[in-house]
Amino acid sequence: MRISTLVYLVRQGLKNIVRNKMFSLASVATMAACIFLFGCFFSVVVNFRYIVEKAEEGVAVTVFFDEGLTEARITQIGKLLSDRKEASEISYVSAEEAWDSYQKDYFGEDSRLAEGFRDDNPLANSDHYEVYLSDVSVQDSLVKYIQGIEGVRKVNYSSAVANTLSDINILIGYISVAVIVILLAVAVFLISNTVTIGISVRKEEIAIMKLIGATDYFVRSPFVIEGAIIGLVGSALPLIAVYYLYRSVVSFVLERFTILSLDFVSSKFIFSYLVPISLVIGLGVGLLGSFSTIRKHLNV
C-alpha cells in the first residue's frame, strides 16, 4: 500500500470521528473509564500481591517435639522437613534461643523482669523447627504432613493472616475482572454504534466507492481506523491520569503514615505492565467494535 493511501485512509477515519463527535466522545469516555478502573484495580492488586508476598516470606510453621525426644530423631525430622518442596527454609531453634528471643520480644531491654526465670527456663522443652514456606497456599498440605510425623507433638501455624490476605486479593481480582468486563462490553457496544453511524452517514459514498472499483480493505479501513483510534485514545488518556494518581497516592500515604513503614511497588514497575496491557486492550476493543459492525453493515 502507498503511504499516501494510508494517509488518506487515516484522514478518512479521523474525519469519521470528528463528524460524529458525540458518539466518538461517548465511546472514548467509556473506554477511558474502563481503562481507568483497570489501572486502579491493577495497581491495587499488584501492591496487594506484593504485601502478601512479603507477609508470606515471614510466615513460618513451628514444629514442636514429643518430650524427651532424642537428638538423633530431631535431626531426622529436620531432614524430612527440608526434603519437602513446600519448605523454602528451615531452622532449628533450641529451648535457650527460644527463651532469649521471647524475653527480647516481651520484656525488651528491661532484663529485670526476666530475672525471676533465670534458672528455670519456662520454655524448656520448647526447642522447635521453624519451617518457612515457599507459598502460603501450600501451608495446609505441609501442616498435615508434619502432623503425621512420629515424634511431633504440635504444629503451630497461623492460617489467618496469610490466607485472609490472599483471599482479599483474589476477591479484588474477581470484582475488578467483573466490573472491567462489563465496561468493556459497553465500550464495544458504543464503538460499534459509533461506527454504525459513520457507515450510515457514508452509505452513498461507500456505494459510489464500490462502483468505481474500491477494494474491500479500502472501504473498510477508515472504519477500522476509527475504532482503533477511539480505543487507543480511550486507553491512553486514563493511563496518564492513573500515573499521576498513583504517584500522588503513594507519596501522600508515605508522608502521612510514616509509622506504618509501608512499602509500595514502584510506579515504573506497575506501568511497564499497565501501559502495554491497556493499550492492547484499547486497541482490541476498538478493533472488535469496528470489525463486528463492518461485518454486519458493510457487505462489500
Binding site: 500500500m1 502507498r2 493511501t5 459510489i208 464500490k210 462502483l211 468505481i212
Partner: protein, 228 residues
C-alpha cells in the same frame, strides 16, 4: 466486448425485470438503450456492473464472464468501467476537485498523478475554474459534467451512463453528449440509457429498444429508427 446470453433478472420470483436478453456490443461501439419507464434499462446496466446477479443466463463484460468473477476480483473488474448516473451521485461534502480525485484515490493512484490528471479532466469538461466549488454551488449540467469527469479519469474501456441527461436542458444535454462522443472516438465503448429522442435521432448511433424487460428492437448505426 459485452455479450449477454439468455439473461433474465427477477427481483421478485415470477416477475422478470429483464427477460431472455441476448445482446452483443463490440469494443468501440456507441450504443443507446431506450424504452419506457420500467422496461429494465437500469437493471441491464446494473447487471453489466455486477451490481446485480442475473437470475439466469451469462453476462460477459470486457471479456470477463461475470458469474465466474470472485468477490475479490470485482474491484479490479470495475476499474475498467466508468459509470454516470442520472442523479449525478457526487459527494456533497467534497469539492469538485476532490470528487474527481476520489476516483483516483479509490484505485490508489499516486498523489503526483492525481495532481496532474484531475485538472486535465476538469479542463476537458470545461470546469477548470470551478475546482474549489462544492456540488450544491453548481448547476445540474455542471454537476453532471463533474460526474463524467469522474467516470472518465481512470480511462475506462467501457462507459455506462444511465440517463446522464435526464435532469438537463437541451444545451447541457448536448454538452454531455459531445463529451461522451469524444471519449468514444478515442476508443472507449459507450453505453447510454436515455429518454431523449431528439438526441438519439440526431446522433445516428446504434439504438436498442427495450419493452417490459425484452429487447424489441436493435437498430444498427445509421439505421432507420421508425416510431417508438
Amino acid at each position: 466486448m459485452i455479450s449477454l446470453e439468455n439473461v433474465s433478472k427477477e427481483y421478485a420470483a415470477g416477475i422478470p425485470a429483464v427477460k431472455n436478453v441476448n445482446l452483443q456490443i463490440d469494443d468501440g461501439e456507441f450504443v443507446f438503450i431506450v424504452g419506457n419507464s420500467g422496461s429494465g434499462k437500469s437493471t441491464l446496466i446494473k447487471l453489466l456492473l455486477k451490481e446485480l446477479e442475473p437470475t439466469e443466463g451469462t453476462v460477459m463484460v470486457n471479456d470477463i464472464e461475470l458469474n465466474k468473477l470472485k468477490h475479490k476480483e470485482i474491484p479490479k473488474f470495475r476499474r475498467d468501467i466508468g459509470v454516470v448516473f442520472q442523479d449525478f451521485r457526487l459527494l456533497k461534502d467534497r469539492s469538485i476537485y476532490e470528487n474527481v480525485a476520489f476516483a483516483q484515490r479509490v484505485i490508489e493512484k499516486s498523489p503526483k498523478r492525481i495532481k496532474k490528471r484531475v485538472p486535465e479532466m476538469l479542463k476537458l469538461v470545461g470546469l477548470a475554474e470551478k475546482y474549489r466549488s462544492f456540488p450544491k454551488e453548481l448547476s445540474g449540467g455542471e454537476q453532471q459534467r463533474v460526474a463524467v469527469a469522474r467516470a472518465l479519469i481512470n480511462e475506462p474501456r467501457l462507459l455506462l451512463a444511465d440517463e446522464p441527461t435526464g435532469n438537463l436542458d437541451s444545451t447541457n444535454s448536448w454538452e454531455i453528449m459531445r463529451l461522451l462522443n469524444a471519449v468514444n472516438k478515442k476508443g472507449t465503448t459507450v453505453l447510454v440509457v436515455t429518454h431523449n429522442r431528439e438526441i438519439v435521432k440526431k446522433m445516428q448511433k446504434r439504438v436498442i429498444t427495450m419493452k417490459k424487460g425484452v429487447i424489441v428492437k436493435d437498430v444498427p448505426e445509421g439505421g432507420v429508427l421508425g416510431e417508438n
